[in-house]
């Protein structure tokens, strides 16, 4: 079990109903963590349409999560 700090943006923030939370999880990777959150909160975006960032840098969905990591899931972007 590790503790991670999540920040939500855009559609994920609205579907979660908050902008940030701290969570204890058994997820070992961003992919596992997203699956856990999606099941709990009903996120509409499937995992393959969401990128992961840890500590303000893009990471692979299978990268290891560590105690205290700041995790952001990035929905499809739409700047401009």
């Amino acid at each position: 079990m590790i503790t991670v700090h999540l920040e939500y943006f855009a559609i994920l923030r609205e579907q979660r109903g908050l902008a940030r939370e701290t969570l204890a999880t058994t997820a070992a990777t961003p992919a596992e963590l997203y699956a856990e959150l999606r099941a709990r909160h009903g996120f509409t975006l499937p995992r393959d349409r969401v990128r992961a960032a840890v500590n303000d840098e893009f990471v692979a969905a299978t990268a290891p999560l560590r105690e205290g990591d700041r995790v952001v899931f990035i929905p499809p972007v739409a700047g401009g």
Binding site: A10, V72, G80
Partner: protein, 154 residues
């Protein structure tokens, strides 16, 4: 310089960052909030960014652009927050010795920024519905009652 701004963008002030005696060309691009997308009347937009990573990824785009085109200066600033029709959402300015590189690099920067930088746009439609652009899922609507929209042009 690539920045996320919560304050309105001032093109004249941004352009003052660019002058250079070696530059013979300056190309700027402005992305404005327009009143329609994919046939739906749009009333306003909300932009949101993951600012620390957006600015890192934006800086990488500018560095890559300098590697691809012989340019001198490059600046891109993207607005976040609630924007009204006609507001300036994004500004790009590029200088180069010659116009070809300045045009090409400016286009490259805005195209890459739209596809890679963690910035999101919610359209608020005239009928009261809303949608996060590019976030609709099959068949259903991500946020509300209009069909999924394709990637939109600024």
């Amino acid at each position: 310089m690539f920045k996320i701004s919560t304050a309105p963008l001032d093109p004249a002030a941004l352009a003052r960052m660019l002058p250079d005696a070696r530059a013979g060309a300056c190309v700027t691009f402005e992305g404005w909030v327009r009143d329609h997308n994919d046939g739906h009347p749009v009333r306003s937009l909300d932009y949101e960014a993951y600012a620390p990573l957006a600015e890192k990824e934006g800086a990488r785009i500018l560095a890559e652009t300098r590697g691809k085109f012989p340019i001198i200066g490059a600046v891109c600033v993207h607005r976040v927050g609630a924007l009204a029709l006609g507001d300036l959402a994004v500004w790009v300015g590029v200088t180069a010795a010659h116009r070809g590189a300045a045009f090409d690099a400016c286009r490259h920067i805005i195209d890459e920024a739209k596809s890679r930088v963690p910035i999101w746009k919610k359209e608020n439609y005239a009928d009261g519905a809303t949608a996060w652009i590019n976030c609709a899922t099959r068949g259903e609507h991500a946020g509300a009652g209009v069909p999924p929209a394709p990637p939109s042009e600024a």
